[in-house]
């Protein structure tokens, strides 16, 4: 979107973006509050506040502070991370299919996290570190393998799908090597789940949101300029390669650390960007809108999986069941519009 010479255009649009962003923020907060107060039974907002402030003898203190809060916080942070990382990849590669969960970044982080936990017996920050290293390694690998022809064409996505399949088989093998694990734990690494979430797990995710989210925010303007093409970007004083490097680092960091905490929650990174783009009037604020959409997807998906279905299901099953039809819809729409995929 090239800046138009009419000074009146941007002010007309800005309120729209702000409105959408504040509505999304309100929705996120509402979903967060809902998961704190409602579960098998519901508590009033005052009761939740009392329980959170640790008032002695508050009703439901254990349920709210020990069970629901860590789960909701982890879901919120991971959702924002997935949403930001996903939309960063999609924008940079100019292709909605090039999201980290389709091209194998999430799969590599998941496999690395399982490797770090099962084989190396690591925990906490170190697991996240291994996951980020693996994510970066795989990003470089996919890049190098698909370099012929350039861009995020069919080749990059197909290669990513291949890498994903291979790494999923590694995860399956590693899970087999750890027979002491129960099925719920294995399920986390296969589909992504918030079961058994603890506040300590949320710490690395919060740190990565500060660090990599900040890096992404600093690069957001350059990324926006990059949409105009490399030549235009360079003419406007933006270094395309450096921008891509920073965005890749930030997006991989976000996705990998969130994956190390919750497992690869299916399709959240893939869905957030396109949903946010449909809500917003233009491309402004897309990054933040996608982050909020990601948070809503994870929190609401987890709530649905826990309480609204006949059986308790991990969040990844719910988002997978939502995301797959959307991917099919994307293909059908391309068929109708006659674009080449």
């Amino acid at each position: 979107m090239i800046a138009l010479p009419f000074a009146t255009l941007p002010p007309l649009r800005r309120p729209g973006v702000r409105l959408v962003l504040s509505l999304l923020a309100a929705l996120t907060f509402g979903a967060f509050a809902l998961t704190l107060s409602c579960g098998r039974g519901c508590l009033s907002p005052e009761q939740v506040l009392l329980a959170l402030t640790g008032a002695p003898g508050a009703e439901g203190a254990f349920v709210v502070a020990e069970l629901r809060l860590p789960r909701s916080v982890l879901g919120l942070l991971a959702g924002v991370s997935f949403g930001l990382g996903g939309v960063a990849f999609q924008t940079m590669l100019r292709n909605p299919l090039a999201s980290p969960d389709i091209i194998g970044i999430s799969a590599s982080a998941g496999a690395a996290a399982v490797f770090a936990i099962v084989i190396l017996s690591l925990d906490g920050w170190l697991v996240s570190l291994v996951a980020v290293a693996a994510g970066l390694g795989v990003a470089v690998l996919i890049w190098a393998l698909s370099a012929r022809g350039g861009g995020a064409g069919a080749r990059l996505i197909l290669i990513g799908i291949g890498v994903s399949a291979m790494l999923d088989s590694v995860t399956a093998y590693l899970l087999l090597e750890a027979p002491a694990w129960d099925r719920a734990e294995a399920m986390r690494w296969l589909t992504g789940s918030l079961n058994g979430a603890q506040l300590t797990q949320a710490l690395p995710v919060a740190g990565s949101l500060l660090l990599f989210g900040g890096l992404l925010a600093c690069t957001a303007r350059n990324l926006e300029v990059l949409r105009l093409g490399d030549d235009t970007a360079e003419a406007l004083g933006v270094n395309p390669d450096r921008t891509r490097l920073r965005v890749t680092l930030a997006a991989v960091g976000l996705v990998a650390i969130a994956t190390a905490a919750t497992g690869p929650i299916a399709f959240v990174a893939f869905l957030s960007g396109p949903i946010a783009a449909r809500l917003l009037p233009g491309s402004k604020g897309l990054l933040w809108a996608a982050g909020l959409v990601g948070a809503v997807l994870v929190i609401v998906g987890d709530f649905i999986g826990q309480f609204l279905l006949p059986a308790r299901l991990p969040v990844g099953v719910v988002t997978g069941a939502v995301g797959a039809p959307f991917l099919l819809y994307l293909i059908i729409r391309v068929n109708k519009n006659g674009g080449a995929l």
Binding site: I161, A165, S169, Y173, L313, G316, G320, L328, V334
Partner: protein, 333 residues
Amino acid sequence: MQAQHVPRLYGFTALLALLGLTAVLSLTLGARSVPWAEVWAGMTGQIDSIGAAAVAVRLPRTGLALLAGAALGLAGAVMQGISRNPLADPGILGVNAGAALFVVIGIAWFNISGAQSFLWLGIAGAALTAVFVYLIGAGGQGGATPLKLTLAGTATSVAVSAFIIAVVLPRNDIAGSVQSWQVGGVGGARFDTLLPALPFAAVGLLLCLASARVLNALALGEELATGLGQSVALGRLMAAAGAVILCGTATALCGPIGFVGLVVPHLCRMIAGVDYRLVLPLSALAGASMLGLSDVLGRLIARPNELDVGIVTAFVGAPFFIWTARSFRMRGL
């Protein structure tokens, strides 16, 4: 013509030798390596040593691996021919996952048991998924491009897997057995579950092998094929039915196994050229060898545990998938 016959002969002989070697390795190697004398004893039913007993267990297992491998290799070759797509594979296109879903639903909701019913369920699931994925992947401009088919298959696989988990997770009584079956393994093979599958496999095999001419004509393009007097629609339908029967049978027997059908036809094309009258039988032979060898590998890597063969084929086959996606212009497609 004389010059062409020589590599054909070599190819067939080499693959037959490989198949024999695979069978021998599969019988002798594993958590316990068995010497020759005991292999023979086990095969003739004289089970008086541990080694002979191990061989007696490995015998149906080897049979299953070879049968399923041949089915998947052949089905992959046919699918690549029908869709004229170098990345087609029963696993990647989600056909095996669809078959698995039907079998799982049959077990969990309708209390179905018995090898025969599993086979019918698997074939029905494979057929529905194949039609669904092909309709989505082949619509619009450009027809069934590799990317569209692969994405449609991937999306379908994810949705189906989510559904399988949703069906299985609340059922603790069946969860364990379904989960190990779902990875794709041949470890639990018994002759009495293998036998009912033989007629299905035979029908699928014949349908596929009979469609070689149609596939050859299709490789030239649809119009030209019609011009050459081939009934394209009928031939395609027959070939697809054969492939679907093979996929459904293989999946009902040992769970969804991917990448065999992708790798094998490409290798066979390298040996024998683009003529499907050769590629199809070679793919069946090579598929049997690949799955058999993958199973042996899975037994050796994780000793004394066993690695399900589906994990091994994915690990071996995915790099091949990447390589194919990179080069894109494989021979003749």
